[in-house]
Symmetry: C2
Subunit: 346 residues, 2 copies
């Protein structure tokens, strides 16, 4: 059955091309459906003043995580962050999650309890209720599904589609840390497999390893927007990498982006580690995924409101050159940013 007829390799379309292709025959018909596939999360009518926001994703062993260095408690926490981050990117307040788990019989009850302990810590930290999820057996590794639910004032939902030429491009926190943390963890895994007696010393890499293993959901970002009375014109969370996220904002908004290399927020530990791996730190900042920061655009008139916030960086601006994503280097030359994407899928 899988062999019959013509055969087109999925990689010919890429992940996002595949989704776009598959959902093009699914127009929204029900009145309660507000935003369908293509944004960070789906949006439904809730009451006269608010929308519901719903996100869902799979989280698969060997693709999204490696149990050789992702402790289960951290993994549970990160799973929740990954779901919640999509709600935040819509300017939504997350309130519930559901978790589905497929387990092979190599997992003990104690292992699953560890995973749930991490989920529980995240629920307490972010004031979330766990409202559902099933468990089932799995033929292969650990299969996880995370759903997050939240709400937003109808007037305040931030889509991917609202950026206008001239809008300022901003990002919370710093970039590339989670990716460099992963490089360290994968290096230590290789070293350990060759020299099992060697103990890894991760302390010099505490920040970036923490960014990989226990990222934070930026609940404070949407609170800051509210406090400063800023409504971003578009927003997306950085799960696949800024370069990839910029393509989404550009496509949905019909704009381009110029990003200033000197403005990219990079932690010194990320920078030093990138250099020691012979990687260009700017490339790492643009293409490293899983930072779970919020990338957003604001009208120029909101500049003063945002400018002095220590945790937000203004890294560029939207342009009229639809689809053109450029990096303006320190030397002043500009060249196209190719989205290398994240080796893991969104």
């Amino acid at each position: 059955m899988l062999e019959s007829g013509s055969r087109t390799d999925i990689s010919a379309l890429g992940e996002f091309g595949l989704i776009d292709h598959l959902v093009e025959h699914f127009p929204l018909k029900n009145k309660s459906s507000v935003i369908g596939p293509g944004d960070d999360a789906a949006v439904l009518q809730r009451d006269s003043k608010t929308y519901s926001i719903l996100s869902s994703e799979l989280y698969l062993e060997g693709v999204h995580f490696d149990l050789a260095f992702h402790p289960l408690k951290h993994l549970g926490f990160k799973l929740v962050v990954s779901g919640v981050s999509d709600i935040l990117a819509m300017n939504g307040t997350p309130e519930q999650i559901a978790v589905n788990i497929g387990l092979s019989n190599r997992f003990s009850l104690e292992a699953v309890e560890e995973l749930y302990a991490g989920i529980q810590i995240a629920c307490e930290q972010y004031k979330l209720d766990l409202i559902g999820g099933d468990t089932s057996s799995s033929r292969s590794g650990l299969t996880l599904g995370i759903q997050a639910y939240g709400w937003v004032d109808k007037k305040k939902v931030t889509r991917r589609s609202g950026a206008k030429p001239g809008d300022l491009l901003c990002v919370s926190g710093d970039l590339g840390g989670a990716y460099m943390g992963l490089q360290i963890l994968e290096r230590e895994k290789r070293v350990f497999s060759e020299h099992p007696d060697m103990q890894p010393d991760l302390e010099p890499y505490d920040y970036i390893v923490g960014r990989q293993l226990k990222p934070d959901a930026r609940m404070d970002v949407i609170q800051t927007w509210a406090e400063k009375d800023v409504l971003p014109t578009s927003a997306i969370d950085v799960s696949d990498g800024v370069a990839s996220e910029l393509r989404h904002l550009a496509k949905h908004s019909g704009v381009g982006f110029d990003v200033y290399e000197e403005k990219l927020p990079i932690d010194p530990q990320t920078l030093d580690t990138a250099v020691s791996f012979d990687l260009n730190p700017s490339v790492v900042a643009l293409n490293g995924g899983e930072d779970f920061e919020i990338l957003f655009t604001i009208a120029q008139s909101d500049y003063e409101k945002i400018n002095k916030h220590v945790d937000f960086s203004i890294i560029g601006h939207a342009t009229e050159a639809a689809g053109s994503i450029r990096l303006v280097t320190r030397a002043g030359s500009a060249f196209d940013i190719k989205a290398q994407g994240w080796p893991q899928s969104h």
Copy 2:
């Protein structure tokens, strides 16, 4: 990490024991959370008169389906039915679904299009919008996640917990067909692997094979309840088998159930096939899963409203003997029904 400390096998708790154990430390705290884990679906506040209903589950190759005999188009359709059925069991009107897909590289674009074609047929048939879902790569087989969203009048939500002693136990449609269809398909798969030149003749088994491959979501059941002005005191969908579902209703409602063997609705094809497989048809009807019928209880005062509906069977009643689930045989003797469960997980 997975090896350290004590190790308790998960099978010691069983699937439902595991869920109960894991979620016991997660009390609901947010005002918008109405029903958490433990029912067919989660329930959230929507507006002053209605609740939102949300279900999510994993659907895994080798556990929930076998691609040797589940055509991808049928699988897409069945995936949607599986999600929607949980909404119906809460007396909810499903309006949206989201689908997550993890794919190994053995799947072609054409294969995924087939899957989506089935999803699309289900969306059209049941008037659903596809509002989200991601795709990602998978190291092993086909990994699917299905979420369904709906709404219900606050006064009309049907939980698992409302059955009272004396209530009549009812079920839509007939039972055990999907299970016997699976037996036929597995037998033909074995025959084919030994004699690849033999063509299976499935025609004598068209009804039960159809029940397995292309089950129907019982949208009409909740419409009938509304038309007949019947509000069930409890409800659950038959995904794991009536015996297993009765344990849930009994546990949540604090009642027992007597089921009358002679009242079990069994299609002649299910009956004949069970006999030819040397299986007791009543055991098949009680333990076969994936029928996606709705099992529900009504007050005795609603008997007249339901009695003449050709597609509903009254198969027993709730008793005061909490937790006791008994089959009353044609000969009049009663014995405990053990929930053998469904070989596949919920």
